[in-house]
Symmetry: C2
Subunit: 190 residues, 2 copies
């Protein structure tokens, strides 16, 4: 039996990403975002409000990084979602994390997190239904320990967090269960 | 040590959702999409090309469902990503899946999948950087077996697939590791 549950943002799984940007004064702000997604092969859309300190920083410096949060950094990742940079000027320092400037864009790469998408600001989209900050991915950097053959990232090693919007839980990624363009190929035979 | 990997759509995890819509003639088309995300509390954005049969159906009937693919339906979920409705008119039938019309919108709910977001078409966004189909979530329906207390969905029971864009793998969801707004609260004390 199926049950109707009303209107809710019921997508699952969602990623946990830490968006980081310098302000005009060189300070760093970072925030936790679950509503982010690739929107083209070299673009990422962040559905974040305009009044976040990090959003203001992005508009000032026209660059940001998207750092993939892993299980071992769950505490700072969650902290980046609780604290607000508008009221806590030393938010980034208090997270205990560290950053280095990207070699490609004017934005901080958080060194504790295993993978970063280094982005130039591309556009802000505001419609009746959506507010999005879109970035052009200029480079992806990753810790060597999460990189496998052919320079491809190993999801098993990233140990990324999953956000559960239903109950605000964090989950780990489980085992590999199949391969795309293979798992369903028998059905192509008809 | 960190390594630069160039430009790639390196977000992880991504969901696996099957977008389904009726055509004007009542036929069903469905496709596998990984680039989907909630963009407001009652909205979902699909980053899918305009030339998919399912996209054409959405534009005709102004409604669609977003069905969350689970591990037990990996084969049809993957098939929905391999086959194209433009060349295979009986794509939905060949998947082996079944559908019933949503009680809220003019779109098919795929009965095999545990959770469906039932959406009215809200807008199509086309900019230099993004093509998005945005839906307004009118109802979420789910199998009773995946619903827990307070009518909230249990991620542990959904057994959702994860898409790994790095290597085109499918993963299962692992164990719960923490709770948002709690895991990082000690850092608030400074």
């Amino acid at each position: 039996m199926r049950k109707n549950l009303g209107v809710q943002p019921a997508l699952f799984p969602m990623p946990v990403v830490i968006v980081a940007a310098y302000g005009a004064d060189g300070s760093i702000c970072a925030m936790n975002a679950a509503w982010a997604q690739i929107c083209a092969m070299d673009k990422i859309a962040l559905f974040i409000d305009a009044d976040h300190k990090t959003t203001k920083n992005i508009m000032e410096t026209r660059a940001f990084t998207v750092n993939i949060a892993d299980v071992s950094n769950m505490a700072p990742a969650d902290f980046f979602g609780i604290a607000t940079g508008n009221k806590m000027p030393d938010k980034f320092e208090r997270s205990g994390c560290h950053a280095v400037k990207s070699a490609f864009v004017n934005a901080p790469v958080i060194t504790e997190f295993p993978v970063a998408l280094e982005c130039e600001f591309a556009e802000e989209i505001e419609t009746k239904h959506m507010h999005a900050i879109v970035g052009r991915i200029v480079n992806v950097s990753a810790e060597e320990r999460v990189i496998g053959d052919k320079n491809k990232i190993l999801p098993e090693e990233v140990n990324a967090l999953i956000f559960d919007q239903y109950r605000s839980g964090y989950f780990a990624v489980g085992e590999k269960v199949g391969q795309a363009w293979n798992a369903g190929k028998d059905l192509m035979k008809g």
